[in-house]
C-alpha cells in the first residue's frame, strides 16, 4: 500500500510496548538515529531490539537502552569499546541478550521476509551456538536448523528515496537496511532526501517501494 511521508514522531506512533523492533546499522553507519530519538520520545517500552550491535556511545540505540525501554537485545556483537550503556545493563542483569552470529542474523531476517519457514545453516556447527539445537547432515556436511526473525517494525536509514518509497543507500551504510525492510510488518525509513518519482534509476533501486511503509526526511 502507498508509502506515507511523515515526521519522525508520527512515523513511530504505532510502536507498542513489547514489540520487536529491527534497527538498521552496523555501528553508526546506517543507524536511524532520528527515528530512535522519536521512539524514545514516543515512549514504547519492553521492546526486543534486533540490531547488529548493542549501541555505541550515548546516542542512537545506546540512548534507547539508557532510557530503559529494551527488555532484550538480539545481536551479533554487543561488546565494543564504546558499548558502555549495554555493558552496564547486562552486568546489572537488567537486559537479556540473544547472541546470533552476524550472518545468521541477516539470513534469519531474510527468511522472514522471503517466506522461508526455516533453513539449515552451516554456521556455528560444533560451537556453543549450536548446543541443544536441531542439526542435520546433508550431503556429508552438518547444519543447524535456524528459524526466521520477524519484526513488528523496522527502523532503517537509507540515502535517497523517491515519493513511492523506493530506496537507495550509501556505501557500507546499506548493511542491514534492505534485509530488515523485508522482515517487518511496518518499515520506516529515514532518508537524507526524497526525490520525485522517476528520478531514481530503476536498475539501481536497492529496496523497492513495496517494502517501505513510511518515509521520514532528515536533511
Amino acid at each position: 500500500m502507498r508509502t506515507q511521508t511523515v515526521d519522525a514522531l508520527t512515523a513511530v506512533k504505532e510502536v507498542k510496548d513489547g514489540d520487536t523492533v529491527l534497527v538498521g546499522g552496523f555501528g553508526m553507519a546506517g543507524m536511524p538515529v532520528e527515528l530512535i530519538d522519536a521512539l524514545i520520545e514516543h515512549g514504547a517500552g519492553d521492546l526486543t531490539i534486533v540490531s547488529n550491535n548493542a549501541g555505541n556511545g550515548d546516542t542512537g540505540l545506546a540512548a534507547l537502552l539508557a532510557a530503559g525501554r529494551v527488555r532484550k537485545m538480539v545481536c551479533s556483537f554487543p561488546r565494543q569499546s564504546d558499548s558502555w550503556v549495554f555493558d552496564g545493563l547486562y552486568r546489572a542483569g537488567k537486559i537479556e541478550l540473544e547472541l546470533v552470529p552476524q550472518g545468521n542474523l541477516a539470513e534469519r531476517m531474510r527468511a522472514a521476509g522471503a517466506g522461508i519457514g526455516a533453513f539449515y545453516c552451516p554456521t556455528g556447527v560444533g560451537t556453543p551456538i549450536a548446543e541443544g539445537r536441531e542439526t542435520r547432515v546433508i550431503d556429508g556436511r552438518e547444519y543447524v536448523l535456524e528459524y526466521p526473525i520477524r519484526g513488528d517494525v523496522a527502523l532503517i536509514r537509507a540515502h535517497v528515496a523517491d515519493r513511492l518509497g523506493n530506496l537507495v543507500y550509501r556505501k557500507t551504510a546499506r548493511n542491514f537496511g534492505p534485509v530488515m525492510a523485508t522482515a517487518a510488518t511496518v518499515t520506516i525509513a529515514q532518508v537524507s532526501r526524497i526525490v520525485e518519482v522517476g528520478e531514481l534509476d530503476p536498475e539501481a533501486v536497492v529496496t523497492p517501494s513495496i517494502y517501505v511503509n513510511r518515509l521520514v526526511e532528515v536533511a
Partner: protein, 209 residues
C-alpha cells in the same frame, strides 16, 4: 446480462484497492491492467523481476529485454524497480503482494486452486510461478468463466484437477457471478444476468446467504 471479458476485467480492476501491489497472471488477468487508473496508485509486479510494469506494447515498440511473465513486451513506468528472480519470488513468497489475480481450471469451495495441469496423461506439465503466487500473495483472486465449454461448473466442492495451492483463493470473478470465499464458505457477492436460484442449481457448491 453476463459480463463480457472487457467488463469482467474492469470489474476486477475496480475492486483492487488504491495503492495495492498487484500481480496479474498470464492470459486474461493481464487485461485488468488496461482498466487501472493512474490515480489509483496500483503498482504492478511481474515475477520476472520488476515492480512498476506498464502496458503491453506491440512488436514495433518492443524492447525484448523488458517483458511480462507471459513474455510479451511491456513498458516501464516512472518509479519502477528491477530485481533478480530470487528477490522477486522472495517478495511473492514472503507475503508482500497485496493481490494476485490468476486464471483457473477449477476453484473449490474451500478456496483450493487448480490452474496448472489438467491431469491429462499426455500433457506436458508446466507450472511457472503459479504455485509461488498461490502460496504467497496476501489475496489470491481468480478470474475465469464459471462453466467449461461443455457446461461443467468450475467452482466445485473439491478440485478434480491437480492443485496449485490449498485454501488460498478468496475471490472468484466470473462472467455471471462474483464469489467471496472465507473459512465459513462461499458467498455470492454479485450476479450478472443469472437468477440466484438458477446459479445455485447449476453449482454443486453450497452458497452462503
Amino acid at each position: 446480462m453476463a459480463l463480457d471479458k472487457n467488463e469482467l476485467a474492469r470489474l476486477v480492476a475496480g475492486d483492487i484497492p488504491d495503492g495495492a501491489y498487484v500481480n496479474l497472471g498470464i492470459g486474461q488477468p493481464t487485461s485488468i491492467a488496461r482498466h487501472l487508473s493512474p490515480d489509483s496508485g496500483v503498482i504492478l509486479h511481474t515475477e520476472n523481476g520488476m515492480l512498476g510494469m506498464g502496458e503491453v506494447v506491440g512488436d514495433e515498440q518492443a524492447d525484448w529485454d523488458l517483458t511480462n511473465a507471459g513474455k510479451q513486451p511491456v513498458t516501464e513506468l516512472p518509479g519502477a524497480a528491477y530485481f533478480h528472480h530470487a528477490d522477486s519470488f522472495a517478495m511473492m513468497r514472503g507475503g508482500h503482494l497485496d493481490v494476485c489475480v490468476m486464471g483457473a481450471f477449477q476453484v473449490s469451495a474451500g478456496g483450493d486452486l487448480a490452474n496448472w495441469h489438467t491431469g491429462a496423461p499426455d500433457a506436458i506439465p508446466a507450472v511457472g510461478g503459479a504455485m509461488d503466487l498461490a502460496a504467497g500473495a496476501k489475496q489470491v483472486w481468480v478470474m475465469m468463466t464459471l462453466f467449461t465449454k461443455s457446461g461443467e461448473p468450475k467452482l466445485v466442492p473439491a478440485c478434480t484437477y491437480p492443485l496449485t495451492g490449498k485454501a488460498c483463493v478468496t475471490r472468484v470473478y466470473t462472467e455471471v457471478a462474483t464469489f467471496h470465499i472465507n473459512a465459513e464458505g462461499v458467498r455470492v457477492a454479485a450476479t450478472y444476468g443469472i437468477e440466484a436460484g438458477e446459479l445455485a442449481a447449476r453449482l454443486d457448491v453450497k452458497l452462503l446467504p
